[in-house]
């Protein structure tokens, strides 16, 4: 997000190509995002088991679902996952990203290693972790390290932590990449000046790198928060929401309600709540950081 790109964008907007250029993506967006969204909102007011025809039931789904303890549990778990995912992923990706942008020996080799999880499909990651964490045939018994042989995915007290860990493992590489790119855009003159003033590495990190990465942090946080809110496939393959309801986060609850219980009305209510919460998070994040985003971070350079 340097100034040259911003002013370039502004220039293009002024002389501007016609809005028709946006038409193809708008059509796709309407077809695959807006249309289903309205469909889901309509379905949330009906009772439908997937077989017959949907029957209009007014607000009864909403009052039923909002009073359902399973829904409260799902909302709470989603909140826990979103917050812990952010707390875990952001610092790790930030540090890894800064490291990857440097010039240490073997950096490229290590960067490629960190990057690998991004190339795997989440289903494959989940199946691999399920096998590794198996208390009878997994990593623990195979390596002989006793504490690894926990009932990781079968103990309700451990399962959610494991889920957060596996999500972090598969998404940290992506966010590290964002931070690496962010760090590389920081002008080296800032560091040179700081060094002349006698700043040490820690001071340079705190007073140059971190402030300069502010926008990257916002972008990355938005993606982590909204991403982990809607995160589904990995958890589905890893635990199916179990043991019990220990990892039944909101998107999973929606899916299971819809495609296991065949209660499409109830599932649609969950879906609408998901959309509302996801939109609110990204709007709030953008609002909170808005005042800064037009300011250049590189005044005087």
């Amino acid at each position: 997000m340097t100034r040259s790109i911003e002013s370039g964008a502004a220039a293009r907007r002024r002389t501007g190509p016609t809005l028709w250029m946006a038409a193809p993506s708008l059509v796709l967006f309407g077809l695959f995002a807006l249309l289903p969204l309205f469909g889901v909102i309509a379905l949330s007011f009906t009772a439908w088991d997937g077989l017959g025809t949907p029957a209009w039931t007014g607000l009864s789904n909403w009052s039923r679902v909002l009073a359902d303890p399973a829904m409260h549990n799902a909302l709470w778990l989603s909140l826990v996952v979103v917050v812990t995912a952010w707390l875990v992923q952001l610092p790790i990706s930030l540090l890894l990203g800064v490291f990857m942008a440097g010039h240490q020996r073997y950096r490229n080799v290590l960067s490629i290693l960190y990057f690998l999880p991004l190339l795997f499909s989440s289903a494959a990651i989940a199946i691999a972790f399920r096998s590794l964490l198996d208390p009878n045939f997994g990593l623990g018994p195979a390596s002989g390290i006793g504490w690894l042989s926990q009932d990781w995915l079968g103990d309700p007290r451990l399962a959610l932590g494991v889920v957060v860990f596996v999500i972090a493992w598969s998404f940290v590489p992506f966010h590290s990449l964002l931070f690496q790119a962010g760090v590389r855009q920081i002008p080296t003159t800032l560091y040179e000046a700081a060094r002349l003033d006698g700043a040490n590495a820690r001071q340079m990190f705190l007073h140059i790198t971190l402030p300069q990465l502010r926008h990257t942090i916002v972008t990355s946080s938005t993606l982590i928060l909204v991403g982990s809110l809607t995160y589904f496939d990995l958890v589905y393959v890893l635990t199916q929401g179990g043991p019990g309801i220990a990892t039944r986060i909101l998107p999973l609850h929606m899916y299971l309600t819809g495609f296991r219980n065949f209660d499409m009305g109830g599932a649609s209510v969950s879906a609408v709540i998901l959309v509302a919460v996801g939109l609110s998070i990204s709007l709030v994040l953008n609002r909170v950081t808005r005042s800064n985003s037009m300011d250049s971070q590189q005044e005087g350079l």
């Binding site: 997937g50 045939f137 043991p243």
Partner: protein, 435 residues
């Protein structure tokens, strides 16, 4: 910079949310199945996959004018897909099911047709109790197409010799054996807790042994507070007692039936017994061929419970899998499908193929053929269980409507994890009846 980014975030959010619903609902099914060849969506896995492939291939070769195109699906994927397909009218001609609550819903919605007139021959070939499960209100809506799958107790005879125990025939013998195995540091039972449905086998058998089949029938009939029956609470207490004394060892909540880890625990000597369906015998045979050949994997029936009202010959499991014929199929497709069902299903070739691959055909009068097989001991036991059972209770998750079945699985899992009491279980499950 602000506006585009915000819009992008908005678009991203909406797209992610929309896509997650879409992904689930979307299907690549061939639309409009009411033209062309008849179609079928069988389920993959084990001897059945080979059997159905063989059967359709043979049929199509002999009847080029009444072809049936088969497309195989994985079990869970099928269950989710068939529902949306039927709702959208893109279902195949032959609809695969486990009968039970799902079949009742299909019949009530008019999705499948009455086959009574057109399938008299095949219904006459199979065991009455198995054919019965495909009937609704005395009319045939579904025809059995696979082996009978009673739940039975498998055990590792080496481990029993090691601790000096014998296969339990009563619940107190079972608890004695549990103590002996625990003392020897062997998990008494293996159970695939992560898959959840193996938990059902325990409650199904215990409730039947303690209170008889009437107890669950009351649930099916929607009687108020049917889940509070003393037989159910006693069964749940027994289960929790078994859990507390270490009956399932450590880490059973992580064991998955998909990878057959529950069986691996038994044949690798880490667990002594497993309660599983007759379908896992072929897995034992494939994965632990030496043990099976040496007779070290024993099979027996579920123990009786002292003072219980249920007939010890009662069994639970899946009487069979079933084919129904879709109501939206064309007359030609219906003709092809029904003649296939009536002529080819469980004809001699079909039965023999199933037998030779280790299945238990629910066909009357095949005792001699069974005795001639290499796995005669197992086959005869499983066949006898089905033939002589006064009651063959369909797995509860199939017998109940989907929403109740899911609530049952979740609550039962919490019973096994000691997260709720039997009383809480009854309260939670009674609520599903009222709703």
């Amino acid at each position: 910079m602000r506006t585009p980014r915000r819009r992008r975030a908005l678009a991203l959010t909406a797209a992610v949310v929309g896509a997650s619903m879409l992904l689930a609902g979307c299907s690549g099914a061939k639309p409009g199945s009411s033209t062309g060849d008849a179609t079928a969506w069988p389920v993959t896995g084990g001897v059945h996959e080979q059997l159905w492939q063989h059967s359709f291939d043979t049929w199509n070769e002999a009847n080029p004018s009444a072809k049936i195109d088969a497309e195989f699906f994985a079990n869970d994927a099928y269950k989710e897909r068939i529902r949306t397909a039927i709702g959208a009218g893109t279902n195949p001609t032959l609809i695969f099911s486990w009968a039970g609550g799902t079949l009742d819903e299909y019949v009530a919605n008019g999705n499948v047709i009455d086959l009574t007139e057109r399938t008299a021959n095949v219904v006459g070939r199979v065991l009455p109790s198995v054919a019965q499960a495909g009937m609704v209100d005395g009319k045939v809506y579904a025809v059995p197409n696979g082996q009978s799958q009673p739940i039975m107790l498998y055990y590792n005879t080496e481990l029993f010799d090691q601790v000096g125990a014998k296969a339990p025939t009563t619940w107190s013998e079972l608890m004695d054996a549990v103590r002996k195995f625990n003392a020897a540091g062997i998990a008494p039972f293996s159970v695939a807790g992560q898959s959840r449905w193996p938990y059902l086998m325990w409650i199904e058998y215990l409730v039947d042994r303690i209170g008889g089949p009437e107890v669950f029938q009351a649930v099916l009939d929607g009687k108020k507070d049917a889940w509070s029956d003393p037989a159910i609470t006693t069964a749940l207490s027994d289960i929790q007692e078994l859990v507390k004394v270490g009956g399932f060892g450590q880490g059973y909540g992580s064991v998955s039936a998909d990878a057959n880890a529950d069986l691996a625990l038994v044949y690798t000597g880490r667990a002594a017994m497993v309660l599983q369906g007759s379908w896992v015998y072929s897995t034992f045979k494939a994965d632990a061929a030496d043990m099976v050949a040496a007779g070290k994997i024993g099979t027996t029936t579920f123990p009786t419970v002292e003072g219980g009202k249920g007939n010890p010959a009662n069994i639970v499991g899946n009487p069979s899998n079933y084919w129904s014929v879709a109501a939206n199929a064309s007359p030609e497709q219906v003709a092809a499908a029904t003649s296939y069902l009536d002529q080819a299903v469980f004809d001699d070739d079909y039965t023999t193929f199933l037998l030779e691959n280790g299945g238990v055909p629910p066909v009357a009068g095949i005792e001699d053929q069974l005795a001639a097989q290499p796995d005669a001991k197992f086959l005869t036991l499983a066949y006898g269980m089905v033939r002589d059972a006064p009651s063959f209770q369909l797995s509860w998750d199939q017998a109940l409507p989907p929403a109740q079945a899911q609530a049952l699985l979740t609550n039962l899992e919490q019973i096994f994890l000691l997260q709720i009491t039997p009383e809480q279980f009854s309260t939670n499950m009674n609520a599903t009846i009222a709703g």
